[in-house]
Symmetry: C2
Subunit: 266 residues, 2 copies
Amino acid sequence: MATGRTHRPATRSRGIPEATVARLPLYLRALTALSERSVPTVSSEELATAAGVNSAKLRKDFSYLGSYGTRGVGYDVEYLVYQISRELGLTQDWPVVIVGIGNLGAALANYGGFASRGFRVAALIDADPAMAGKPVAGLPVRHTDELESIISDNGVSIGVIATPAGAAQQVCDRLVAAGVTSILNFAPTVLAVPEGVDVRKVDLSIELQILAFHEQRKAGEETTPAPAGAPRADLAARPAAQPRAAAAGTSARKGPDGEVPAVMPA
Amino acid sequence: MATGRTHRPATRSRGIPEATVARLPLYLRALTALSERSVPTVSSEELATAAGVNSAKLRKDFSYLGSYGTRGVGYDVEYLVYQISRELGLTQDWPVVIVGIGNLGAALANYGGFASRGFRVAALIDADPAMAGKPVAGLPVRHTDELESIISDNGVSIGVIATPAGAAQQVCDRLVAAGVTSILNFAPTVLAVPEGVDVRKVDLSIELQILAFHEQRKAGEETTPAPAGAPRADLAARPAAQPRAAAAGTSARKGPDGEVPAVMPA
DNA sequence: CCATCTTTGTGCACGCGTTCACAAAGGCAT
DNA sequence: ATGCCTTTGTGAACGCGTGCACAAAGATGG
């Protein structure tokens, strides 16, 4: 998972569970693909496979939206595309601004997945004066000074932050002050925002770290004949005082806990 | 959430809950920042604030790793950095390959957050022969033909897919066949992988769609219940199926451009 | 050594999300 | 119509994750 909501305890918007909302775009993508192949109807089983989820979950998700299927037949693809799009708010146009036009910001600006889903890049903003006016993805980069006017002039309510971590909070504050109420944050920082502002974050390195955890575990399993179930065996082996924390550098020695085998994939 | 695991029902690795694992990188980031400021110890309350979570949750998360704190004092920053790094498998070096060197792939290659966390970009791979040899982020782009040899030569077990959606599954298959067992997928597709291979996905447009949902809801709450709608022509048309979808269109919404005319499915 | 104060570690309860399993609903053939 | 077959929609059970609240543990000062 590259993201998660910050604050706000899952308000259960209109009775639609947060987990379901997060899957709707997935269904929409699968349905769009079917639509392009002119498939008229689809069963929950087929669609679930295409979306990579379980069919019971899919049916329950759809049941929160209404009874849009036909028993014995399935779901009408076009109709469902429309209903989900409407529910997600994609039947209207959302102008967004991208702040921080470095490598990532430029990639986002060029990303085709936005425009095709009702998101329109209203402006690209960067703090570097040297960037100002330079065309990226067909749009001239604007300077940060213009941030407030761009937002109010275009009625932007969604902002994307792709700046370095150090600048993110400041940019966030200005976006919020100018009227933005939803923020997609790519900077590796926790953003503080007032009540009523939604923040979602995408941290590329966090995803890799989670993969590394599982990868390490996989490697450890095949090289260690140790029994699988050894819950909390390491509790007693912990040193009482804080030892000198060995530098977590490249030395892949095992930790102070003698029990845990050092996992070294050959 | 920008991501989620594909298949595999949360194996509860070594008794550490998946949700906890997903937060460890967050703690690590906050701790690293403290470490750089030479802060010796930190309380669960302080660290929780810095990481953007609740302190009880943080303490419970740490309790899965062991008793690494000192009551009445808090946690030793350096020690905790080491313990979490070790748990995540970051005390060793993970060579990764990035496949698909378009805008996003190049951005990823330049992203500093990888190298600083034990991830080393072993190679950049692209299918376009014109890209071959061109330096990106200091590395020459290699052609897809070399994929298998690069992976086995470098012992790569983690692959990043940043190709167009159409090529993703094929690339994935080749990565897996060559020995990769963890994949970070940026392509907007569901990848099918054999048992034992982990896939995490990051979909930029999905995040925006989730934000749009909440944004629409926020807008609908503050304005009068006018069934506002959608200036998107491509979705306005609705197939004449299911005539009894009674539950449709009770939501009110207001676009960022102000009130918008109602477009109800006829 | 003892009292006090701080902060951890966790037992417990609650709520959300997932999954199972099946009755109800509709299509279709006869 | 009637009966069979397919697939939806959902009630109910279960498990995971979260947050509360507090006892235990250790530091600190007298």
